[in-house]
């Protein structure tokens, strides 16, 4: 019999609204995943973590450790709004929780508008100030801009090359709405890289977010994105189940709160100091997940803004320098 009943503070839009059953899939210090048939993942999060489309945030104390409370394989079921986990000391009351949802499809980010373009530059600048060892943005900058590359482990070097060759192709194919080519690039990135959610996946989640919030005005892009989302869900079989949950949500236009809030702030473009803080929050997620996701999102935002694709990466990677020097003048 559970001793503690946590209240759910918020539930993501992808959490089933009614009864569900499953098992504990994986447990970490500050998260626990539940596996629901037929192939859905739910994530329990402590109060201090941001929302997820498939997440349930609990009013835990800040020192609550899931790893001490749960183990893989325990049965879990939600009945009448109460989530119980077999043998756990706690249950979760989902009834008072608010629904968390940011609909990227409703945003209308247009970088041809000066204020939104400025907000993008600010976020890009924050990304490049952030140091993310092993992340794609760090690797790409090193690859394209460094005259002499520092020695790095063979694996990192190989990863870097893969990303550096694939991402420009991805941007070009997306710009031209070539679905087959885009899928080919995505296949090369899925499950690629370090981390529980590999860098390639984090990048793609952000990339889809960037595309969704700039596609609204154009029906052919919306149509393309819908088809791409469907393909992405299929291709996501090539990564692990946890990462797949994020990819499948992103395929439908749902991403985690840090990335979604960044998209909102870019769209609003009215408070640059707040935008910087939001970008930094998004960048701090995980080890390199945050920076890989922000990189993907900011590039995704740019794809349909009429920039010459072949200039894209090298120009963009120099942008913070240009921007900073411009602002100093």
């Amino acid at each position: 019999m559970p001793i503690v009943r946590f209240q759910a503070l918020s539930v993501g839009s992808q959490v089933p609204p009614h009864s569900f059953s499953g098992t504990v899939h994986s447990v970490f210090r500050q998260a626990c995943n539940l596996w629901l048939e037929p192939g859905t993942l739910l994530t329990l999060l402590p109060c201090q973590k941001g929302n997820l489309p498939h997440g349930i945030r609990l009013d835990t104390s800040s020192h609550f450790v899931f790893l001490h409370a749960l183990r893989v394989g325990q049965s879990a079921a939600c009945r009448g709004g109460i989530l119980r986990i077999d043998g756990a000391d706690f249950s979760v009351d989902l009834r008072p929780a608010r629904l968390w949802h940011i609909n990227l499809k409703e945003l209308h980010l247009d970088l041809c508008r000066p204020t939104q373009a400025q907000s993008w530059v600010v976020a890009w600048s924050e990304l490049n100030r952030h140091y993310h060892k092993g992340g794609l943005s760090e690797n790409l900058r090193t690859f394209f801009l460094s005259g002499v590359r520092p020695a790095m482990p063979v694996l990192s070097e190989t990863l870097l090359r893969q990303g550096a060759y694939t991402i420009p192709s991805l941007l070009q194919a997306t710009c031209r709405l070539r679905l087959r080519d885009v899928i080919s690039c995505i296949r090369s990135l899925i499950g690629l890289g370090y981390g529980l959610t590999p860098s390639g996946d984090d990048f793609l989640v952000g990339y889809m977010a960037g595309l969704w919030c700039t596609a609204r005005a154009n029906p052919s892009r919306m149509e393309f994105l819908t088809a791409l989302g469907s393909e992405l869900s299929e291709v996501s079989q090539n990564t692990n189940e946890i990462s797949r949950a994020y990819l499948r949500s992103a395929a439908k236009g749902h991403v985690s709160e840090p990335i979604a809030k960044l998209a909102q702030q870019l769209n609003q473009a009215n408070d640059m100091s707040s935008l910087r803080a939001t970008t930094q929050t998004a960048l701090r997620v995980g080890h390199t997940s945050g920076s890989d996701g922000v990189l993907g999102m900011l590039l995704g935002c740019l794809v349909w803004q009429g920039l010459p694709p072949h200039l894209l990466l090298s120009d963009l990677l120099r942008l913070p320098v240009l921007c900073d020097s411009t602002s100093q003048r």
Partner: protein
């Protein structure tokens, strides 16, 4: 340079831990390169390209792959170090482990011990039952309400409350269900299959499910609704919910509905829902005119036996032909001229009602405590009149004593009484097996049947005893042993209630013919 790999299946660690692990191992003496990485196809290719793997390995994207390169002597201990650092301390076991030993004292406590449960079976005195059922529904559980004496206003409120939450209330007074292959309360062990049954009658459900099993079919779900569900005021809410569930259930291809005839409004609603179910629906509304029930996908059945037969045929992809009631006349010694009547002593209410219906067509008025027509009501339920069938499970008989499926004393007493009546030709009996029923009904009945026959013999009569066993080979009572014991004492066993009833009628009619009284 040597290589070593280790695959840990379905293993998840957060990114920081994986990076720390890679870094730690890479610093061990003799290790040149190390990677702890999720084994997605792209990452495996990456490791091959980077030289950490000689060739792709058999691993899934959910596996953790540790790949090392370095001096051969150092790699084994490096892998061991990696594995030991991945070991996770067991979660603390505190209150919940202790609480597992406690008997739950509420539905919520029960749910705490069995978190995946989605159904509560409630059997409390009727006055408390509705409150407990509301608690269960609020907790998100479907309800099987075994309790009777629940007020109809409470039944309506419960069923509406459930419907709003897409849950079902089976009952009140629901004695039979088979959910996901599990018999609940009075139910039989049947083979699983493609036929789903919703019934407002407990023994009706048992008869249909047992016959389906006997004839090679199987049951997906058998959902009881309680006897009042198709009352006009209740509106068939549970039958509609059950029908909806079976229509959506991919493992159900044929649906069977069983009830006494509902009110015309409820009947219309249920038939409309059945028409929209998208599956073949066999309807047995006992006593209803089959032509009134017929629709495009609806197959009316006159008896419980017919319902089972039609359902099995449909499940096997065979278009059911109109079944003709077959009558096998048992060969019995000549009866005395005054032996003219059938006495049915039933433990199952629906069997009794079906017997009344079938006998009435052949023998005229059938007296009963649960009559088909008001004029056929027995003036004194303790004393039979002419053709009589008695539902011994009726409230009148069960106040303060167990149901006759569990406790055979009342029926045994009545059996002796009927055997003493010189006008009785046939005793008609149901023997119900399965969970909930007496563990060995034949052992209870055989001595009494023998005594009844002896009484008749001493009086110069032969008493015909006809019965049927409602059960399956997998029931705990051992069907074959029960049947053998009953046959040895002279009971003529039919396959179903309908067949037993027809046999009984034929014996009496035969007697009338031979006695020249027609």
């Amino acid at each position: 340079m040597a290589r070593a790999t280790k695959i840990i299946r379905n293993f998840y660690r957060d990114s920081v831990s994986l990076m720390q692990l890679s870094s730690t191992i890479a610093k061990l003496p003799g290790v040149e390169q190390a990677s702890a990485i999720m084994a997605s196809p792209n990452n495996v290719t990456l490791l091959v390209e980077a030289g950490l793997l000689a060739e792709p390995v058999e691993a899934s994207a959910n596996d953790l792959l540790i790949a090392l390169q370095g001096e051969a002597d150092a790699l084994e201990s490096a892998l061991a170090t990696a594995e030991s650092s991945l070991k996770q301390p067991a979660p603390s076991s505190t209150g919940s482990e202790q609480s597992r030993g406690m008997s739950p004292r509420s539905i919520e406590m029960g749910l705490g011990n069995l978190v995946g449960a989605n159904l509560a079976l409630i059997s409390t005195p009727g006055e408390y039952a509705a409150a407990e059922a509301f608690k269960a529904l609020t907790l998100g559980l479907n309800v099987m309400l075994f309790s009777d004496n629940v007020e109809i206003k409470d039944e309506i409120a419960l069923k509406r409350f459930a419907q709003e939450r897409d849950l079902i209330v089976m009952g009140p007074d629901c004695g039979t269900a088979i959910i996901n292959g599990i018999p609940l309360a009075f139910a039989n062990v049947v083979r699983r299959g493609a036929i789903g049954v919703v019934g407002a009658s407990g023994t009706g459900l048992q008869q249909v499910t047992c016959l389906i099993d006997r004839w090679g079919g199987g049951i997906s779900q058998a959902i009881g609704t309680g006897g009042h569900d198709l009352h006009r005021d209740v509106g068939g809410l549970s039958m509609l919910q059950g029908l909806k569930a079976l229509a959506a259930d991919p493992s159900t291809s044929v649906i069977v509905l069983i009830s006494k005839p509902p009110s015309p409004e409820v009947s219309a609603t249920v038939l409309e829902a059945a028409t929209g179910a998208g599956k073949a629906v066999v309807v047995n509304f006992l006593g209803a005119d089959p032509d009134q029930l017929r629709r495009e996908n609806i197959y009316p059945a006159a008896t419980l036996e017919d319902a089972a037969a039609v359902a099995v045929a449909l499940a096997n992809g065979i278009t059911p032909e109109a079944r003709r009631a077959s009558v096998t006349s048992p060969s019995t010694p000549s009866l005395a001229p005054q032996q003219r009547y059938v006495r049915g002593l039933y433990s199952g209410g629906t069997f009794c009602y079906e017997a009344s219906l079938l006998l009435k067509k052949q023998l005229g008025q059938i007296n009963s405590n649960t009559p088909v027509e008001p004029g056929d009501r027995l003036a004194d339920v303790w004393t039979s009149q002419k053709h009589t069938v008695i539902d011994l499970g009726d409230d009148l008989f069960t106040r303060g004593r167990p149901h006759p499926m569990i406790d055979h004393r009342l029926r045994n007493e009545r059996l002796i009484k009927e055997a003493s009546d010189p006008e009785v030709a046939v005793i008609l009996l149901d023997i119900v097996l399965g969970y909930g029923s007496h563990p060995d009904p034949a052992a209870e009945m055989v001595p009494v049947i023998q005594k009844a026959r002896d009484l008749a013999t001493k009086a110069g009569r032969h008493l015909v005893t006809i019965g049927f066993v409602c059960g399956t080979a997998a029931d705990p009572q051992n069907l074959s042993r029960q049947e053998t014991a009953l046959r040895e004492v002279g009971v003529i066993l039919a396959e179903s209630n309908a067949q037993a009833v027809r046999m009984a009628a034929s014996v009496v009619l035969e007697t009338d013919v031979t006695g020249g009284r027609l």
